[in-house]
């Protein structure tokens, strides 16, 4: 019994770690899509940011500078997406896919030519990586039954970006539903013409949303290369941007739902890792691929309408055209 509890805590602990990049990317997508800009390029922005953060953290030995670098790269890619889809009213899916390919190719190319390690950055020096934070009193309560391990393992002992990600959930909710910016952001995703006729610039508003998306994907990517692991590895996002997008749909574009969706997907990932090579009673060994596919399967089921309807912001994906042609 006790051993099972310990195992559960460990799985939940890694759930939190694995959900963090999903959650950051999911919230990033939420800002973008709530403003009417579909962003399939979350993956590419994360990857670019992971590389930028890894490279700069290695060169400077400073995790914070690495984070800034990661955010910078993601914002640049976000602005590129904005320029294509807001200013030039291009197809948002095409632009997003292009950014994904750009990031895959460019990170590998630059990584190889700068560091000569097959596309990866060298291991980070001390200080180049975000360290885990032990919350006050964690050591003291460590041995208290049940609550002790929950506090010590689950809540304490994560790096700062984990706390940032989870703090971003209520903050996003507040921004979206309690501020002027949030009202306008939601409005522009539903009916940009209403925003325009109210005398607010649709273009500026959408650029702001896209930049916020860049910042959050920047943190998500940096988390992968300079917090969760020590250095950038080629293709290290491994589809997390797409899972985040699935989580966003699963969450029906709502911040608190997004957190639960990401935790669920993170949990599946944690179980997959835990069960690798182990046989389950009755079922036998379950292929890891099954758990890796689960987020997508769940999303497809949701989209098929079994768990209620997921209605995207009405104007998402539609470029805003003021003058008729």
């Amino acid at each position: 019994m006790f051993e099972n509890f310990q195992t559960l805590i460990l799985i939940l602990d890694s759930t939190v770690r694995l959900s963090t990049p999903l959650l950051l990317a999911c919230l990033a997508g939420l800002y973008s899509e709530r403003s009417g800009i579909v962003d399939i390029g979350l993956e590419g922005k994360m990857l670019g940011a992971a590389f930028g953060a890894g490279a700069i953290a290695y060169l400077t030995g400073n995790a914070w500078l690495g984070l800034l670098g990661g955010i910078g790269v993601a914002i640049l890619l976000a602005l590129l997406h904005g320029y294509a889809s807001i200013t030039n009213r291009g197809n948002q899916i095409v632009s997003g896919v292009a950014i994904n390919f750009l990031a895959i190719g460019l990170t590998a190319l630059l990584g190889q030519s700068w560091f000569h390690q097959g596309g990866r950055t060298p291991p980070l020096p001390k200080g180049g990586r975000f360290q885990d934070i032990v919350l006050p009193g964690a050591e003291a309560v460590k041995d208290v039954p049940f609550l002790g391990p929950i506090y010590y393992e689950l809540l304490s002992g994560h790096n700062i970006l984990v706390y940032v990600a989870f703090a971003a959930v209520p903050l996003t909710w507040w921004v979206l539903f309690r501020t002027r910016f949030g009202l306008r952001l939601r409005a522009v995703g539903e009916n940009p013409a209403a925003v325009d006729t109210a005398g607010i610039s649709v273009i500026l508003l959408r650029y702001r949303a896209v930049i916020i998306c860049g910042i959050l994907t920047g943190i998500a990517g940096s988390y992968l290369s300079i917090a969760q692991s020590s250095g950038f590895i080629k293709d290290m996002t491994a589809g997390k941007g797409y899972i985040a997008l699935a989580a966003l749909i699963f969450a029906k574009w709502k911040p608190v739902n997004a957190m639960f969706a990401c935790l669920l997907f993170g949990f599946l990932d944690a179980i997959a890792i835990r069960l690798q090579g182990q046989a389950l009673p009755l079922i036998g060994e379950v292929p890891v691929q099954f758990f890796q596919a689960l987020p997508y399967i769940l999303t497809v089921i949701l989209l098929a309408g079994f768990i209620g309807k997921a209605i995207p912001p009405k104007a998402s994906g539609v470029p805003y055209l003021k003058e008729r042609t």
Binding site: R180, L183, R186, D196, A198, G199, K314
Partner: protein, 510 residues
């Protein structure tokens, strides 16, 4: 009434590509008046108003507000100058509350909490002053269209509009809602506001405006004092020739029943029963008109009869064939094969594919017929030849079957659909909103064609939100409210009586 100009336009020009939408427009709107602007669809009224509201920029010309020349390069500046606009297609966020819609753009602080209390009080004051009652916490998408329009007016007043532009405001309203709107407009005028009313309905101009300006093909052709002009003069100015406002027709000679609908019940995708036990008959040689405010089940009724929507219950007999609408999965082709033609309400959504050529659109839905095929391929020359014949017969302009239908005016698009459905020689024709967004000249043609079809012994079921159209075309009028038939009247019936039926208050009268 003071004589200063609230708005003056001088020499305004605007082109979209090759289309010269506004040519040298001069306009003077006096302060504290209701000024009408009338013209056919595509005459350039909406473009002109969009320029005034900063939505489009004029290519040349000047705008003066209260005697001062101004530049309006976006809506924010227009709002700052005291210009408010109620658009034809409402500029509302449907998932928001009334209050959220009203404060959008004038929230009064970075935190929403800062301004909402003040906004609530202001809304309450506006409601009292102008008889504009709306629940501020209602979700806009759930409100009736008339109420949504009030939200639009409130939005403008909330932002301090002194000049209110209304673009085709009554198209979606019941007669009584329209009357109420006119009352509101008169209150606004009494309080010193200036109202610009854009419409293509002559009766509205006569009923409410002080002055009226007429536009035709992008030009301002005349301005008259409403008291000094008449409907027929205005109609002539709009079209450029004299037009027949009344539909000429002989009494109907109804024969055998060609369409018999029994106990039709339909539920929509939200699970709401939208058609409730509707039974009706259409005889050969008569036009049955279904009157009602839009959204009371008429659209669903039409779509179900056309086989586009599935019914919960209902049997139709069409030219002798009986069909259980619940048993068959909806199959428009099968029903068409039984002798039914369908001119859908929304030609853009259901009637045409606007990126296709005219000749392709002319056979949509009938493209499987043998006459158009050449083995596996479409026989283009046969199709085009037929399209050319229809173009000539229905006076479709420009007479070019290769042109995309997007490039035809609303009236000509409607004629393309009408030609396609009528030329199949159906026993029964379902017609939805035949003249929505259609100019006067084309309306005259379409009405004449429908009467001709009736006189050839076909049955026509006509759905229209234009009560005038129903009254002038139909031989019997059925009124629908909330999915059910609430009454049947003769076409000569009193308009107020029909209006009350449409509003669902028949009990008090009958």
């Amino acid at each position: 009434m003071t004589e200063t100009a609230a708005i003056e336009l001088r020499g305004v020009n605007k082109s979209f590509g090759a289309v010269h939408a506004n040519k040298d427009i001069d306009l003077l709107v006096k302060k504290g008046t209701i000024h009408g602007i009338i013209g056919e669809n595509g005459a350039g009224k909406s473009t002109l108003m969009s320029i005034l509201y900063g939505f489009y920029q004029a290519d040349s010309g000047s705008i003066h507000v209260d005697g001062v020349e101004v530049k309006i390069s976006d809506s924010r500046q227009a709002i700052g100058l005291g210009i408010g606009m109620v658009h034809q297609h409402f500029m509302l966020v449907e998932s928001f509350t009334v209050l959220e819609n009203v404060i959008l753009g004038a929230e009064g602080g970075a935190r929403l909490a800062d301004g909402t209390q003040r906004a609530r009080e202001e809304l309450y004051r506006l409601e009292q002053d102008y008889e504009l009652k709306v629940d501020p916490d209602a979700i806009v998408g759930e409100l009736a269209v008339g109420l949504q329009q009030r939200v639009e007016i409130l939005k403008a007043l909330f932002r301090g509009a002194e000049i209110l532009i209304l673009d085709e405001p009554t198209g979606v309203l019941t007669p009584s809602e329209a009357d109420h709107l006119f009352k509101i407009l008169n209150v606004l005028k009494d309080q010193g506001k200036t109202v610009l009313l854009i419409t293509h309905k002559l009766r509205e101009i006569m009923a409410i405006t002080d002055e009226v300006s007429v536009m035709r093909r992008g030009e301002m052709v005349a301005t008259r004092k409403t008291a000094d002009t008449s409907m027929s003069e205005l109609a002539e100015l709009m079209v450029g020739r004299s037009v027949l406002l009344e539909v000429e027709k002989t009494p109907a000679q109804p024969k055998q029943t060609v369409l018999d609908v029994q106990n039709l019940r339909v539920t929509d995708s939200r699970g709401v029963r939208v058609v409730k036990d509707v039974s009706l008959q259409v005889k050969a040689g008569e036009i049955v008109g279904i009157a009602g405010v839009s959204g009371n089940g008429q659209s669903e009724l039409l779509e179900t009869l056309a086989g586009i929507r599935k019914a919960d219950h209902g049997i139709i007999t069409l030219a002798g064939n009986t069909l259980d609408l619940t048993k068959v999965s909806p199959d428009p082709a099968e029903i068409r094969g039984m002798g039914l033609g369908h001119v859908p309400e929304d030609r853009h959504r259901m009637g045409l594919i606007n990126s296709f050529s005219e000749y392709e659109n002319a056979i949509l839905g009938y493209h499987q017929s043998e006459q158009y095929s050449n083995g596996w391929l479409l026989d283009r020359s046969a199709i085009k030849q037929e399209a050319r014949d229809a173009i000539e017969k229905y006076d479709i302009r420009p007479p070019n079957p290769d042109l995309k239908t997007a490039n035809f005016s609303g009236g000509n698009q409607q004629k393309i659909v009408l030609a396609r459905e009528i030329e199949r020689d159906p026993e029964v024709l379902l017609v939805g909103q035949p003249t929505r967004g259609v100019d006067i000249g084309a309306i005259e043609f379409i009405h004449k064609r429908l009467i001709e079809l009736r006189d050839q012994g076909k049955g026509i079921l006509l759905v229209s939100v234009e009560l005038d159209e129903i009254r002038s075309l139909a031989d019997r009028i059925i009124v629908m409210f909330d999915g059910a038939i609430v009454g049947e009247r003769e076409p000569g019936a009193d308009e107020t009586e029909l209006g009350l039926l449409m509003a669902g208050v028949e009990g008090e009268r009958a």
